[in-house]
Amino acid sequence: MPSVSDELLELCERMPAFPASVQQVISLTSDINSSPKELVKVIDHDPVLTMKILKVANSAYFGLSRQIVSINHAVVYLGLNTVKHVALAIAAIGSLPKDNDAGFDMDDFLLHSLTTAVITRSLARIMKVPEVDAANFFVAGLLHDIGQVVFAQFKPVEFKKALQQCRDHGVSLHEMEADFCGHDHSELGAVLCETWSFPEPLVSAIRMHHLPGTGRDATPVRKCLFVANLLAARVHQPTNAPPCLDEDDLPPWVFRTFGNDFDSIIDSLSGLKTDLQQATSLLQVGKGAL
């Protein structure tokens, strides 16, 4: 697979965030009395804002003594005002257009990303991951498909063909992306995260999110993200990329770790529906879908 070009990486630096969050960042940052946690909530539900703030926080310019893995973490380390101004600078770039030449449904993408994020974090609890680390799991879910937005924005013609093939022939999107765009979205997302010095477990979880593996040596975040991606498609079937793995195709570690079958895993995730409603209402996506 060819390496991701520098040009594409540079384009990603200038990628705008989603319209609803851009609007909310502008409004919250104009109000001196707005609540800090509201701003954090908006940022950490937008994959582009999250990715870019983690990029700044992990930048070699500071060489922080710890790698920054969530927006709360960035706020504690860089300070609320710095995060606020970085978010405002990103918002000032503009917002992702509702429609794109690839015919890629952005609302659907966002809904799937948020659903996966919420489920990845819930699965972390099943794996008894300490609460303070569960935030990284949310970020992994939120960013796992970020490569798709990059393709939609910057390689729309090729991506459109990949999407079309996927819909017409029921083949997996990531294989079609590799054919038409040169690499698939999981590799592209991982390369972005790697280039911007995100923590290694997050990078490899994103890179491997379509590969079940044997479960041996897999980090908890990789296991949770892999399963969450499939469960999210069960909760809300994405139109952009139908899932290509059934329960029968999965290795035993999945059910050994999380539950007997998909439905029982979903049922066991307490508060899932409320968490999903909160997450999606914030960015005004998925109305009536849940």
Binding site: S35, P36, K37, V40, V56, S59, A60, Y61, F62, G63, L64, S65, R66, N72, H73, V75, V76, Y77, L78, G79, L80, N81, T82, H85, V86, A89, E131, V132, A134, A135
Partner: protein
């Protein structure tokens, strides 16, 4: 190692009858190492008289560690005479600005642009070097080692530690105690609290066992409640941090511009009366205060 305070005021210089004894210049602290090297914390208006004294002493070299680039910490620089003298060798240390995406040199040069000052940074005669610091840097300067840690302020701010022959001093720069943005019944409260504890732990590790702990105490505790997010600490929060770092002596600085000399006297008395056994000794900074460290 010797420490001298040239500016102890926060926010803005505040000369006048109310600040005659403690002083009205903004932050500038001079550290003289055992071998006579000069390390300066911040370049508020207090750096102007320090510059004149350095010229008199014939001290042509110094390091200037900028905690952050808010005005009260850099505003004295255009009047720092050693910058205009070709024999000077001045090393600046500070952070990269993540919002403006600019390094220290660009930001400091900006305050000397045409509309702010008649001489441009380019025209300065001294041999100047700018060093953008990563957190956790370790810089050897003469017989001292300078290290740094990120503090909590509305702009990126480094606290600095200087070690010299087993003696040490820590300067917090401007710092507000971290505040949990979530309510105690919120899902994320615990996660955020734990991140705060890690961060405060990092700061106290850098400041561990210092002989002299110089800390931002712009506010009293009741004032701090109304100034949340302004980026400053209180006498109580400064003392708490010094206790956690097991510092031996504490000096409170960055006094609010409205704080009068008499108020500072009363605060000092009250604080001393409240000290516990094994607490560090405490003092309130005033212009001209000199401390022999160690």
């Amino acid at each position: 190692m010797k420490v001298r305070f040239w500016g102890v005021r926060g926010s803005i210089a505040s000369p006048g009858p109310h600040s005659i004894r403690y002083g009205g210049n903004t932050t500038c602290i001079e550290v003289t190492t055992d071998a006579g090297h000069t390390i300066i914390f911040d370049a508020g208006t207090g750096i102007r008289p320090l510059g004149l004294e350095l010229m008199e002493r014939g001290q042509t070299q110094c390091a200037v560690c900028i905690s952050h680039t808010h005005w009260d910490h850099i505003q004295g620089l255009p009047f720092f005479v050693p910058l205009f003298v070709p024999q000077s060798k001045i090393d600046f240390f500070g952070a990269f600005d993540p919002v403006y995406q600019k390094d220290l040199q660009s930001i400091l040069a900006q305050q000397m642009e045409y509309c702010y000052f008649p001489v441009r940074e380019l025209e300065l005669k001294a041999n100047i070097e700018y060093h953008t610091l990563h957190e956790g840097a370790r810089i050897e300067y003469g017989d001292a080692v300078i290290s740094n840690v990120l503090m909590n302020h509305p702009v990126l701010t480094y606290g600095y530690r200087v070690d010299c022959n087993g003696k040490s001093v820590f300067f917090s720069g401007d710092h507000e105690p971290h505040h949990n943005i979530y309510e105690s019944d919120d899902t994320f409260y615990g996660e955020y609290e734990s991140l705060i504890q890690d961060k405060v732990g990092d700061i106290c590790t850098i400041a561990k066992d210092v002989d002299l702990f110089i800390v931002d105490a712009q506010y009293t505790e009741p004032e701090l409640v109304h100034k949340r997010g302004w980026g400053h600490g209180s006498f109580a929060s400064g003392l708490a941090m010094a206790r956690r770092a097991a510092a031996k002596n504490v000096v409170f600085t960055h006094h609010d511009p409205t704080r009068t000399d008499d108020q500072l006297d009363r605060i000092a008395e009250k604080l001393k009366a409240q000290l516990r056994a094994n607490d560090p000794s405490i003092q309130i900074a005033y212009e001209g205060l000199e401390i022999e460290v160690g």
